[in-house]
């Protein structure tokens, strides 16, 4: 049996072990690992997560038991101090001696601390190990609200700045170069990132040559060659890395001029029995501070020891993508081409903090590299285009601007990639490998493909692409990709809708007993509740414990567990008398009142037991539930229209009231909003609603599938210049079709985006009745309108439902933990601590 000693238990050292024991022949070898840190190898890439959760175990790559199970001898807290190459032995700090057949140097690197005067003062830290972080956090806790800087505006430095911010200190970044992330970004890209950072309260100081660390014993500031000094209470140095080559140096292995152990493409050092991998290895005269090349080196070393001929790639891909302080930043291929080499296409939107640059070869055929700041969602596909030298679309700018007009995207389909395209660079998994695990090995889910191939298990950046490949491969096998709403039902919402309807299923338990398994959860219960509401037009009162919390109590739960009350104000039309009634009730129950975005009035701060009392009074005044708490029609917003407005083409308010009353109470996959504008000035903003009508010369234009919110979408034109009756009929059908087919919690815009054929298809269904279901849809919608009842009226008048509105079951007392504080003459919940 031969012995392999691995010096270094970092990410690459661990990866060597993992890859080695995956080989059949590993039992012929004895593996002994030495790590100088007290912990077993952990994920340094996600080190900053330690600041967020303080849980070191979460970063662990494999627990100690893993090493035991694999027969690996692991010595942590044990530094190797000498290598004797002639006798092939090493000596550890505790004086133990081990002999080897092969030696793996995976000693990694150490943070470079520039020789600045005063750099050894207290409060100056580096950012590399969990211990570094613990020391930093400990120090930070003694300087509350203090100022702290990072020296170095590279990748790691910016991560550290985020950590400083998370520790509650005022963050600064000091960089010698004229831009941030000088290895990844050009000047313009850096500027966009700077703006984003200053928006987040991180001050950036560029072009700063640090002269001295100021302070008496502990740090008080930094002095620069030019400009004012910066007052500070703490400093983290992140100015690059230096390879840990001292052992190699002492035993006479070949080193580079500026350090690093020279290796060839087999990872062998100048001594053929000694390999160097990871950040200590100098390959092609370069040190690679990234995980992916380190992992590849580990694989090469494993294979070489086992007699295989695997060689290290000629050129190392330095592409990176990461989320820095909430901002996507990516850089790939050659990001900095000159004008002689390539044409750069640049897109910049300062308002949104977007910067995209792609470098196209002079002949326009190849993508050479690029930079993405603010939105890196296209990174994976761009990287593939570049690495595989794939053909570019006719207008390469479409790659960063998106295809304008026409169907499909400029990127093409993932299945067009060549089989040897590396999709997961951390684990070197190719497109062919992923597809093969689906097509030939029978893996059918992303999870099982990930377990089999290890793809996505490194940085995880390739997840969307791997997921697409799995889906597409399954499709090519003729297998439908099963969409399940949760672990309790192997069906999509649309399938469940049909099951409930066809089998005449009456309640949640019956459905679970018939086609589900287990006992349900907070995902399937509300989804199924919405289906029952749609199929039987039943109110949320009947099966109250499967309703989302807001539906269960017919009110919107707010920060402190109190509720808000929103009566319906159809079309936003309200009489002075109704306004006075709302005012009176609001004052009586001491409610905070605010006008909503949907032209109605929201009253906050009602305790659970007050809800029926408030509603009893509202109903007496002629109000109905506004369904603000439900996945249902919220409001139909209107402008004042031709009754008053001198431009109005038609009566938008009358129409809005009519339509709001038609659809009120209908439950749907998500909330729905409508709008009616009396002319093309569009004061009701009907084109950012799920459905909208705009009066034009000769009738109404009908728009569908718009929304505001997180992803604003302009609505699409469904029909032009139709009369009111036709307009309503089209929207009836459209809504009914949406209610029946959309997945849970999907707004109309997102639903349309996934609908094959898009708006053209929808027009065919709604206008031309291509599915021959129009009659059915019309009838269903009409039956909703005919069977509407106000669920608050039902609740107030039914003692059993009313009894639900008590904070305690065994006492009439109210919840005395609720606290309010005054604000601008009203009240608000006491803030969360």
């Amino acid at each position: 049996m031969k012995t392999i000693l691995v010096i270094g238990n970092g990410m690459v050292g661990y990866k060597f072990c993992e890859k080695f024991v995956a080989q059949e022949k590993y039992k012929d070898f004895k593996l002994i690992v030495f790590g100088e840190e007290p912990r077993v190898a952990y994920d340094r890439v996600h080190l900053s997560e330690f600041f967020e959760n303080g849980d070191a175990d979460k970063l662990t790559l494999a627990p100690r038991t893993w090493y035991e199970q694999k027969g690996i001898e692991l010595h942590t807290n044990e530094r190797v101090v000498a290598i004797q190459r002639n006798t092939k032995v090493i000596t550890t700090r505790s004086g133990r001696v081990y002999s080897y057949d092969y030696l793996i140097l995976a000693t990694g690197s150490t943070p470079f601390v520039p020789p600045i005067k005063g750099v050894h003062k207290q409060g100056v830290f580096v950012y590399r190990t969990i211990e570094d972080l613990e020391n930093t956090m400990q120090y930070a806790s003694n300087i509350p609200n203090g100022k702290a800087a990072v020296l170095g505006g590279g990748l790691l430095g910016l991560e550290a700045a985020k950590a400083i911010k998370d520790m509650g200190l005022e963050p600064h970044v000091v960089e010698f170069a004229p831009r941030l992330m000088p290895r990844q970004l050009d000047e313009e890209g850096s500027k966009v990132l700077e703006t984003k950072m200053s928006d987040m309260g991180i001050s950036v100081h560029l072009n700063k040559a640090t002269q001295q660390i100021l302070g008496n014993g502990s740090i008080q500031g930094m002095a620069f060659s030019e400009g004012d000094p910066l007052e500070l209470d703490m400093l983290i140095i992140s100015a690059g890395i230096r390879p840990r080559d001292e052992l190699a140096k002492a035993c006479g292995l070949g080193l580079g001029e500026r350090g690093g152990i020279v290796v060839d493409n087999t990872m062998r050092t100048s001594d053929p029995n000694i390999f160097a991998i990871g950040e200590v290895a100098l390959y092609n005269q370069m040190i690679y501070g990234l995980v992916a090349p380190g992992y590849e080196m580990a694989q090469v070393a494993v294979d070489q020891i086992l007699g295989k001929e695997t060689l290290m790639s000629e050129s190392i891909d330095m592409s990176t993508k990461l989320k820095l302080i909430g901002v996507d930043v990516a850089s790939f291929g050659n990001p900095f081409t000159t004008e002689e080499e390539a044409h750069a296409i640049v897109f910049e939107n300062k308002l949104q903090g977007l910067y995209k640059r792609i470098n196209i070869s002079k002949d326009g055929k190849k993508l050479l590299g690029g930079i993405l700041v603010g939105d890196a969602s296209d990174y994976n596909m761009l990287l593939q285009l570049q690495q595989n030298e794939m053909a570019l679309p006719e207008n390469p700018e479409d790659l960063i601007l998106g295809a304008r007009g026409g169907e499909g995207t400029a990127m093409g389909n993932v299945m067009d990639l060549p089989d040897d395209a590396v999709v997961c660079s951390c684990e070197s998994v190719t497109k062919g490998g992923i597809c093969c695990s689906v097509l030939q090995e029978g893996h059918e889910t992303l999870k099982s493909v990930a377990e089999a191939t290890k793809a996505t298990t490194g940085c995880g950046g390739c997840k969307p692409m791997v997921s697409d490949l799995v889906t597409e491969s399954l499709k090519s096998l003729g297998k439908t990709v099963k969409v399940r709403i949760c672990e309790h039902f192997d069906f999509s919402r649309q399938e469940l809708y049909d099951i409930v309807k066809m089998r005449d299923i009456q309640d949640y338990d019956e459905l679970l007993n018939t086609v589900g398994h287990g006992d349900g959860c907070e995902i399937c219960k509300p989804a199924v509740a919405a289906i029952f509401a749609s199929v039987y037009n039943e109110t949320a009162n009947r099966q109250e414990t499967i309703q989302d919390s807001n539906d269960r109590y017919l009110a919107n739960i707010q920060r402190n567990g109190t509720y808000s009350v929103v009566p319906r104000v159809p079309g936003g039309e309200i009489t002075p008398q109704q306004l006075m009634a709302l005012g009176r009730i609001g004052m009586k129950y001491d409610l905070y009142t605010k006008i909503t975005g949907g032209q109605r009035i929201d009253m906050f701060g009602a305790q659970l037991h007050e809800l029926p009392l408030i509603w009893e009074e509202l109903i007496k005044e002629g109000f109905e539930s506004g369904h603000a708490y439900g996945k249902a029609l919220r409001t139909v917003k209107s402008c004042v229209g031709s009754t008053w407005c001198r431009y109005g083409m038609d009566e938008s308010v009358s129409f809005a009231i009519e339509i709001e009353n038609r659809y009120k109470g209908i439950r749907s996959p998500h909330k729905m909003k409508g709008g009616v504008s009396g002319c093309i000035r569009e004061c009701a903003e009907a084109r950012c609603k799920d459905f909208g009508f705009i009066a034009v010369e000769g009738g109404w234009n009908v728009y569908v599938c718009g929304n505001g919110g997180a992803n604003p979408k302009h609505a699409e034109l469904l029909a032009e210049k139709v009369d009111k009756e036709t307009a309503v009929r089209y929207v009836d059908r459209f809504l009914m079709f949406y209610i029946k087919t959309a997945p849970p919690l999907t707004r109309t815009a997102a639903w349309l985006e996934k609908l094959e054929g898009g708006i053209t298809y929808l027009k065919n269904v709604v206008i031309h009745d291509s599915l021959n279901i129009a009659e059915e849809l019309d009838a269903e919608m009409q039956s909703y309108a005919d069977t509407y009842k106000c669920e608050w009226k039902e609740a107030v008048e039914t003692p059993a439902i009313r009894a639900r509105y008590s904070h305690f079951v065994n006492s009439d007392e109210k919840d005395d933990t609720i606290e309010f504080v005054p604000m601008r003459g009203q009240k608000m919940p006491k803030a969360w601590t």
Binding site: D519, E522, R559, G561, V809
Partner: protein, 125 residues
């Protein structure tokens, strides 16, 4: 507010010294919860009808320190019974009190027994 958390200590069946008579079974919704007042404590009690089991835990959600868990939806995660907080859908095991979808502190759980159509909650103090 954090000190409020300490008012709730998980109680095991063998530690029970007081069985508090809370309310009639019919007061609790099927497959749902309601809140019981015991001294200065608020206890969420769940009638998991489908499994014919009752559970009790603190009403206080450790995420934002609000008295809301009794109004949460119950369900299962694999075989583990759980409650989802109505504010941010943080889920907790009703058996162990552990936070199932995050790193929040565990919630205190209490034994429940049903006798002569009444719900009793077990406390050690």
């Amino acid at each position: 507010m954090i000190s409020e958390l300490n008012t709730y200590e998980a109680t095991k069946l063998e530690e029970v010294t007081i069985w508090f008579k809370a309310a009639e079974v019919s007061k609790f919704p099927k497959n749902g919860g309601a809140c019981v007042k015991y001294k200065d404590k608020q206890i969420a009690v769940f009638n998991f009808t489908r499994r014919r089991v009752w559970y009790a835990c603190q009403n206080l959600c450790p995420h934002k320190m609000e008295m809301v868990l009794s109004r949460g939806m119950i369900g299962v995660d694999g075989d583990d019974p759980k409650v989802a907080c109505p504010l941010h859908k943080k889920t907790f095991s009703l058996k162990t009190g552990m936070n199932l979808n995050g790193d929040l502190n565990s919630i205190a759980t209490y034994p429940v027994k049903i006798e002569k159509n009444f719900v009793y909650i077990g406390f050690s103090e």
